[in-house]
């Protein structure tokens, strides 16, 4: 176990996968200078510009090229820079990458990893802050990973690179600097669809993913001090998502709160809450509850940006009310 930042964890895992499998290559803007966040730092020196491939500002080409190159057996890791720019390549991702295998009756495989840094970060405003993971979860053919810790980011990235189907890999920009333990094993892969129990508790289940997991953990800390034991579950992947883990936890706690940074309306929290309400109604001692951003845009000025944040006090208050039966 080494101590490592989230950024270094994914950087290390990518390098390890590139050493392991010569078919793996990365493509995106500015990668040769380390990428916009430094997440590719040092890689061109080791792997050369053919495998750490600089791209023009051309997201549709970056993704479309990856689809074609994947069909011929290479394994591209595609950098979208900000998740928001992936909107420039939505046909390539949704109509092409996600559908090719099925549409061609199994003849095509599209083993690509599409890295999409998400989330609010330093007043980046409306076009550089979005979290659209719910979109991808709704698209058959795609896998969606939203790691919250360095170890998960590395382990899920390895699994993503080894996956024969397209994976949307969403790193949260606010997590780049987060330090954590990183397993030494370069083959440490994390299964898709296996949630992580961040903290055990018997009173309420709090489900989350990505950076919001840490906000939930902070809320659980507060609640613990008040004698409320919250169980925090990090889904890690939204498709597939670990229904069994959530059902088991709700079976114990009888209460489900889902919290995420994305807009609540149509967010993936709705899927989790609806599924539990449908399939585990008998276990529920309180109605399911969701917390997400208001259906509002993300502004530049800190007070405006903060107005759409789901905070630890909000989560604690919601959990408290649920436990109190309000």
């Amino acid at each position: 176990m080494a101590q490592m930042s989230y950024l270094d964890a994914v950087r290390t895992a990518l390098a390890q996968e590139m050493r392991r499998d010569p078919a793996v290559w990365a493509v995106g803007e500015d990668l040769g200078r380390g990428g916009v966040f430094g997440q590719y730092r040092g890689l061109v020196e080791e792997f050369g510009p053919a495998r750490i491939c600089d791209a023009p500002i051309s997201e549709a080409a970056i993704l479309g090229v990856a689809v074609g190159a994947a069909m011929l057996g290479t394994r591209p890791v595609v950098e979208m820079r900000f998740a928001d720019f992936a909107l420039c390549a939505m046909d390539e991702l949704v109509n092409q990458a996600a559908k090719a295998r099925f549409m061609f009756g199994g003849q095509a495989r599209v083993p690509i990893v599409v890295r999409e840094p998400i989330g609010m970060w330093r007043s980046s405003a409306a076009q550089h802050s979005q979290s659209l993971e719910a979109w991808y979860a709704h698209v058959p053919g795609l896998i969606v990973a939203c790691p919250a810790t360095p170890a998960d980011a590395a382990g899920l990235l390895r699994t993503a690179i080894r996956s024969d189907d397209p994976v949307v890999f969403m790193e949260h920009k606010n997590l780049w600097g987060l330090e954590g333990e990183m397993p030494d094993d370069p083959d440490h892969c994390i299964k898709f669809g296996a949630a992580r129990r961040v903290r055990a508790g018997r009173d309420v289940t709090i489900v989350s993913w990505s950076a919001q997991v840490h906000v939930c953990a902070a809320a659980a800390e507060t609640l613990a001090a008040e004698g409320i034991a919250a169980e925090v579950i990090d889904l890690r992947t939204l498709w597939p998502w670990d229904r069994a883990a959530v059902f088991a936890s709700v079976g114990r706690t009888g209460r489900l709160l889902v919290a995420h940074e994305a807009v609540a309306v149509g967010g993936f929290g709705a899927e989790v809450a609806a599924t539990v309400a449908e399939q585990r109604a008998a276990a529920l001692r309180a109605p399911v509850r969701r917390l997400g951003a208001p259906r509002a845009l993300i502004g530049y000025a800190p007070p405006v940006e903060d107005a759409v944040r789901v905070t630890a006090p909000m989560i604690a208050a919601a959990a408290r009310a649920m436990v109190a039966g309000q």
């Binding site: 023009p56 090229v65 046909d91 390539e92 189907d165």
Partner: protein, 340 residues
């Protein structure tokens, strides 16, 4: 056999390889027969989705695609039956696909707009105009990474050059000097709209050149001219010269889809185009070169018979089962194992 042809419409100043011309003619007949059979299938409600016939454009498929090697890669469009057949796909499996049968090239899951045969390097028609251009650049990028002499051929229409992926794909291919032959199959129309009316500037070739892709124009109804132009460009591409574009001017003799009566075109324009039907041109050259009319008729009959038999076989073949809907979506998180 070699002789100059000037008089009866045979392209002048060209050494005619009669064997090749005959092969082109046979292939074009097969494409025509395949599509006429598809239209029959539509009329008989055996074919389900939209059909975009390439009737009148067969010389591009025969002249370009038939020059590729089996190992080369092809990407096509919604109007891709001819390209697919020319690349070597089985007409039987193609018709099964159009009839939505389990034995189709895509197991009946793609239909006309997603016809593909990866076994012969045909990486798919595409239901989204111009989407194949960036995918083609990617296939060529993979060839570059993997080494080898394969090339990629990517066909698209004159309407496709107004979408962003045309610029992005050609720029990519040229910036990385990738082995791609782009072919703009210019049939004058983007669905019911005259493509030229909304295409600014001199057109596909000029755009390609401005993107660092050398380009040639050719009469797309003259299969020999297409072949000659394609052969030269393919040689340049295969030789490592980077991408090339061939702009082939032709004409869509039918409507955009089988459902389009194409009433927006003047009758004399269509009549003039019919007079330059690429198959009729080739047949005339063959006749002039001494091939007996009976042999030409026999080729025509053989193509029709082949497709009729394939059609009958497809009609008799089973549909995919419902479970096919859940296969080949994805391995992990598959709908087959995770019903909602």
């Amino acid at each position: 056999m070699e002789r100059p042809h000037a008089a009866a419409g045979v392209p002048a100043g060209r050494n005619l390889d009669l064997g090749r011309l005959r092969a082109h003619h046979r292939l074009m007949l097969r494409i025509r027969a395949l599509e006429e059979t598809a239209l029959r299938g539509l009329a008989e409600k055996q074919v389900f989705g939209a059909i975009h016939p390439s009737i009148g454009q067969e010389a591009v498929a025969a002249g370009v695609v038939a020059q590729l090697l089996r190992d080369d890669i092809l990407l096509s469009t919604h109007r891709g039956h001819g390209h697919t057949l020319a690349k070597g796909a089985s007409a039987g499996a193609m018709l099964m696909e159009l009839l939505g049968r389990a034995g189709g090239v895509c197991g009946g899951k793609g239909g006309s707009m997603h016809i593909a045969d990866f076994g012969v390097g045909m990486l798919g028609a595409n239901g989204v105009v111009a989407a194949n251009i960036v995918i083609a650049a990617g296939a060529a990028h993979a060839i570059r990474l993997q080494g080898g002499a394969r090339i990629v051929c990517c066909l698209f229409g004159d309407g496709a050059i107004n979408r962003g992926p045309f610029l992005e794909g050609l720029n990519w291919a040229a910036a990385f000097r990738l082995p791609v032959l782009f072919v703009c199959e210019d049939n004058g129309f983007a669905a019911t709209t005259r493509a030229a009316a909304l295409t600014a500037g001199p057109g596909a070739s000029a755009r390609a050149r401005a993107l660092g892709v050398p380009a040639e124009e050719v009469d797309g109804n003259d299969v020999l001219a297409v072949e000659a132009a394609a052969a030269a460009l393919i040689a340049a591409v295969r030789g490592g010269g980077g991408p090339r574009l061939l702009h082939a001017r032709t004409y869509r003799l039918t409507g955009h889809t089988a459902a389009d009566a194409a009433a927006y075109r003047p009758a004399d324009e269509v009549a003039a185009a019919r007079a330059r039907d690429p198959i009729a041109l080739a047949a005339a050259w063959l006749a002039e070169a001494g091939v007996p009319e009976a042999e030409i008729a026999a080729d025509r009959a053989a193509a029709a018979a082949e497709m009729a038999a394939a059609y009958d076989a497809a009609c008799a073949a089973p549909f995919p089962d419902a479970a096919a809907a859940f296969r080949d979506v994805q391995d992990i998180g598959s709908p087959a194992e995770m019903p909602f």
